[in-house]
């Protein structure tokens, strides 16, 4: 697990360099933001989150996070996933 996180970190730093100046996406300040940034940005830019808002409810965001883990193999511990889902539903969820 530790190795995977190291890999994600390395790629998160090196991948954007290939395409220059990837903009910084400022997610809403709220508990869980750091977890979301850490677990999502290794594989994709964070613009995916506001782009997919605000129409997913708690169940919808749960399905998205689970898809990242189960279909795309993201090494996200259950506790982090729960934190991320709560953050996404509260800040980018269906009002």
């Amino acid at each position: 697990m530790k190795n995977l996180w190291t890999l994600i970190l390395v790629l998160a730093i090196s991948a954007p360099a290939a395409f220059a100046a990837e903009r910084v996406v400022a997610l809403k300040n709220a508990p869980g933001k750091d977890t979301v940034e850490a677990m999502c940005s290794g594989c994709h830019s964070l613009d995916y989150i506001p782009l997919n808002s605000p129409f997913l409810d708690q169940q919808g965001w749960t399905a998205e996070v689970n898809k990242m883990i189960n279909a795309y193999g993201a090494p996200i511990p259950q506790a982090d996933a729960a934190k991320a889902i709560a953050y996404l539903a509260a800040n980018y969820g269906k009002p």
């Binding site: 506001p50 997919n52 808002s53 795309y72 193999g73």
Partner: protein, 408 residues
């Protein structure tokens, strides 16, 4: 200012020093269609990938960039305005065409081969196929209710003249074994994590052997832009973009259906939901089936939503129509909220897989506004729908889409 004019202007100042990128169009405003999720309007910006003019940037990594409406003013889409779509961010920053090779292998070939770019160019007949490449999820952002994914408006598509060898000719050289059921295609791009399934797709033998299925080495007479699959991409006319593998590195006939994630779990629609002639039988089950042919559709390119006209002023409506390769039979236009429809005039026929232009003229009557609708019908008699056929992935959205102009 157009880039050409800008460069001409630059050229007149002989030794004009250029520092950094030319950003003549950098100030271009984002002009988005209506009906997208609120968050999409907040996040959209015009972004410029290497080799491209500004496009609507939805996501930076992997890059997902949509062509603005202005890209569709002509029946062939300029290469530097062609949309960009990737699933996974492991994209080679550049590819050396001298080193690049395509492997013809797999359990279904007699003699595995390695072919370089020049082999493909010189060793096979080069054919040109004008064809629309449209993302399966083009218009996903217009789904009601909204569904997750890249929130594409109307511009996740383009039409180009693709040129290169036929896949069937390449496979004939390697020799395809009797009983091969599908052919698997992979590209040089891939996942960031080793645990993420690589983007790999298969096609049924019949579609692979179609004389219009080619490996494109050229796009509109030029090398492919990097982000459209340089140096070679698969062209699958009539079928959605998911099969048009970019940066193609392998072609593998297989003796049993391919069971990769991107076939078994992604790019599927409920079986029987949409009119389809060419189904992918070896990948179909009772519940779902792979998306294959594009549904008939059209786009109003002018006038723009909210454009202003005076009463009595002539209005020229222009647009494009396309389908899954049967050809456009007619486009009808309504300017009275769908109460009556008149035939638009079809433009030049560039082939059954290409955009078909159309035009319709009327006199602005008002009183305050007029709503223009266009509906295309293909040669099978299939027409665009009035009501969305909802599916969870937001595919095949060909709802008649009104443009409202202001009459003052």
């Amino acid at each position: 200012m157009l880039r050409r004019q800008f460069l001409q202007a630059l050229g007149s100042a002989a030794a004009f020093p250029v520092f950094g990128p030319l950003r003549a169009e950098g100030a271009e405003a984002v002009n988005l269609t209506y009906g997208l999720p609120a968050g999409a309007y907040g996040v959209a910006q015009m972004g410029t990938l290497p080799g491209k003019r500004p496009l609507i940037e939805w996501t930076a990594r992997p890059p997902n960039y949509e062509a603005p409406l202005s890209a569709f003013a002509t029946p062939f889409t300029p290469n530097d305005l062609f949309f960009v779509r990737y699933h996974l961010a492991g994209i080679p920053p550049q590819i050396d065409v001298q080193q690049w090779q395509i492997a013809i292998g797999g359990g279904g070939v007699a003699t595995p081969l390695q072919l370089g770019f020049q082999d493909l160019q010189r060793g096979f007949e080069q054919v040109e196929v004008p064809a629309v490449c449209q993302c399966s999820g083009s218009r996903r952002g217009l789904s009601d209710p909204h569904v997750p994914g890249v929130q594409w408006g109307v511009g996740a598509m383009g039409c180009a003249r693709w040129r290169g060898p036929r896949v069937k000719d390449i496979l004939a050289k390697a020799g395809i074994k009797p009983g091969a059921v599908e052919v698997v295609f992979n590209g040089a791009d891939g996942p960031v994590l080793t645990t993420t399934p690589d983007f790999v797709k298969s096609l049924p033998i019949a579609k692979v052997m179609d004389e219009n299925t080619i490996v494109a080495l050229e796009m509109n007479g030029e090398p492919l832009p990097h982000f459209n699959g340089y140096p070679a991409r698969l062209i699958v006319p009539g079928w959605t973009g998911t099969y048009w593998m970019k940066h193609l590195i392998s072609i593998e006939p297989v003796m049993k259906p391919f069971d990769g994630f991107w076939m078994k779990a992604a790019y599927r629609i409920p079986t029987g939901m949409f009119p389809t002639v060419q189904i992918f039988a070896t990948q179909q089950n009772e519940m779902t089936t792979p998306i294959t042919e594009m549904v008939v559709n059209s786009l109003i390119t002018l006038p723009a939503e909210g454009a202003r006209f005076r009463i009595g002023e002539p209005v020229t409506v222009t647009g494009l129509a396309w389908d899954g390769g049967y050809g456009i039979r007619s486009v009808v236009v309504s300017i009275d909220n769908g109460a009556s429809w008149r035939e638009a005039m079809l433009g030049e026929d560039s082939g059954r897989y290409a955009f078909r232009t159309w035009a319709y003229r009327f006199t602005a009557a008002g009183p305050a506004s007029q709503t223009i609708r266009a509906k295309a019908t293909n040669r099978l008699g299939e027409s665009q729908v009035e009501t969305l056929i909802f599916n969870g992935a937001g595919y095949h959205n060909n709802v008649v889409r009104p443009t409202t102009i202001v009459i003052a």
